[in-house]
């Protein structure tokens, strides 16, 4: 009993220390020019099935962030990374094509994202998953510039909670306006 109490206490301490270390290390002055939120395609998912999720990023007007596959090697790509705790796994992450734009600082047109950006992901739930709420943690990394200057690379924490429900529980679809526009998220089997 005491041993487990001690472990919980140590875990708590480690979390607090990590959070403080992150707070100290974070750049104090760089403005946040990207805001990210996550959405799900349904209010739950059955064991053995898939669920579409998406990260919606809003980029401050006047700024751009690089394509996931940047035009030039030295550019830092935009990336959405999600941990996949059992019984969930990330099957695929789909990025839109960037827009080719010419900037004063480059001879070539660069593929970038501006305005609103939707990155989709397909989650798969293990067949033997126990119903319950599962939280996925991840980060949305980007590096922003405007037409004459750049900001340091940033990583925003992104979390989403997925409800795994029993096979007989009916599901309600959500955010279809967003997911109907997303291509490349169809699983091999039956999709939601």
């Amino acid at each position: 009993m005491k041993n487990s109490l001690c472990k919980v206490w140590l875990a708590f301490c480690a979390t607090v220390l990590a959070a403080l270390a992150a707070a100290v290390a974070a750049p104090q002055n760089a403005p946040e020019v990207v805001a990210v939120k996550t959405v799900l395609a349904a209010d739950g998912v059955h064991p053995g099935k898939t669920l579409k999720v998406a990260a919606l990023a809003h980029i401050t007007p006047g700024y751009h962030i690089n394509d996931h596959k940047p035009t030039l090697d030295y550019l830092i790509p935009t990336e959405w990374k999600l941990d996949s705790p059992s019984p969930l796994s990330v099957e695929t992450v789909v990025y839109p094509k960037g827009e080719l734009k010419k900037f004063a600082f480059s001879d070539r047109q660069l593929s970038v994202y501006e305005g609103d950006l939707t990155v989709g992901a397909l989650l798969r739930v293990a067949r033997d998953a126990t119903p319950g709420a599962y939280t996925l943690k991840g980060k949305f990394s980007y590096q922003a510039c405007n037409d004459h200057a750049c900001l340091p690379p940033r990583s925003l924490p992104v979390t989403l909670t997925v409800n795994v429900v029993g096979r007989r529980t009916p599901l309600k679809t959500l955010n279809q306006d967003i997911f109907s526009r997303l291509e490349g998220l169809e699983p091999a089997g039956k999709n939601l």
Binding site: L5, L20, H148, A149
Partner: protein, 280 residues
């Protein structure tokens, strides 16, 4: 032999001490060290003839760079990164300036804000950089007022004072004009006719171009069509708008502090057009 409960309490006590230590360090940094550094930086980047904060770094070739050792020379101090397109645009120009004015006393120093040194070494070779490049960090950035946007370039005179700060890609001819003026100055007397960073006194300017724009209360914007009341109103209007260049300042303040900022200049000119429309 220690009992289990004594062990548990020892671990808990140790962890508590560690937390208190980190919390303490966090608050010391946040409320004491960081503000003090920023006050020092603010002092260095505003007011008359600000001194360039001293620093010592090791360049990519293992040589020491001490800013104090460069006293008597003109220093172009460039904060940049390999992932920054606008920074890359400027670098061939800095290579040329270093080559052209080295004998007259120009020293170019590059401070890379990259996280790792490998891409910087590759870049150094690829761009045939002929000046010292060192790896920077948040501390040196804060020393120079917080390097928010890259590139940020400072021009330091022979007397060790900062005479210009440019945020964002700036035409190399602008640097060259300023460097020539600074090189012509004496190390002891400074450059009286140059505008110190943060100053807005028209008689101490470094800019070239239309005098109506240079001497304007909103630098870079010709306010000659406005009467004094309208100028005051227009300035108030610019105080309500925030500049998107990354400086976290209002458009008016950004114009006054960073005359090279193309974003605040464009917005201020657009606002002037709108401001003038009703009276046309």
């Amino acid at each position: 032999m220690e009992s289990e409960s004594v062990k548990t309490y020892r671990v808990a006590f140790g962890a508590l001490l560690a937390i208190l230590l980190v919390v303490g360090l966090y608050f010391v940094n946040r409320y004491w060290i960081a503000p003090a550094t920023q006050r020092h930086a603010a002092k260095a980047t505003s007011g008359d003839r600000p001194m360039a904060p001293a620093f010592s770094l090791t360049d990519l070739n293992g040589r020491k760079i001490n800013l104090a050792d460069e006293r008597g020379k003109v220093v172009l101090l460039d904060f940049w990164a390999t992932w920054c397109g606008p920074c890359q645009l400027e670098i061939p120009g800095f290579v040329k300036l270093q080559e052209r004015y080295r004998d007259q006393g120009l020293v170019v120093i590059g401070v890379s804000m990259d996280d790792s040194v490998e891409p910087v070494r590759d870049f150094y070779r690829e761009f045939k950089m002929n000046y010292a490049v060192a790896m920077g960090d948040q501390r040196i950035g804060e020393l120079y007022g917080g390097i928010i946007g890259l590139p940020t370039t400072f021009l330091i005179g022979r007397d060790g004072h900062i005479y210009a700060k440019h945020t964002g890609a700036t035409d190399i001819s602008v640097f060259e004009d300023e460097i020539k003026t600074l090189l012509a100055a004496d190390a002891n007397s400074g450059v009286a006719e140059l505008r110190p960073v943060g100053g807005t006194r028209p008689q101490e300017r470094i800019e070239l171009g239309d005098p109506a724009e240079i001497d304007s209360e909103v630098p870079g914007v010709n306010l000659s069509k406005l009467n004094p009341q309208q100028v005051a109103m227009f300035k108030k209007q610019l105080e309500t708008l925030h500049c998107d260049c990354g400086c976290k300042l209002t458009i008016l303040r950004c114009r006054q502090i960073d005359r090279a900022c193309n974003i605040s200049r464009r917005v201020a000119r657009e606002q002037l057009e709108k401001f003038l429309k009703p009276s046309v």
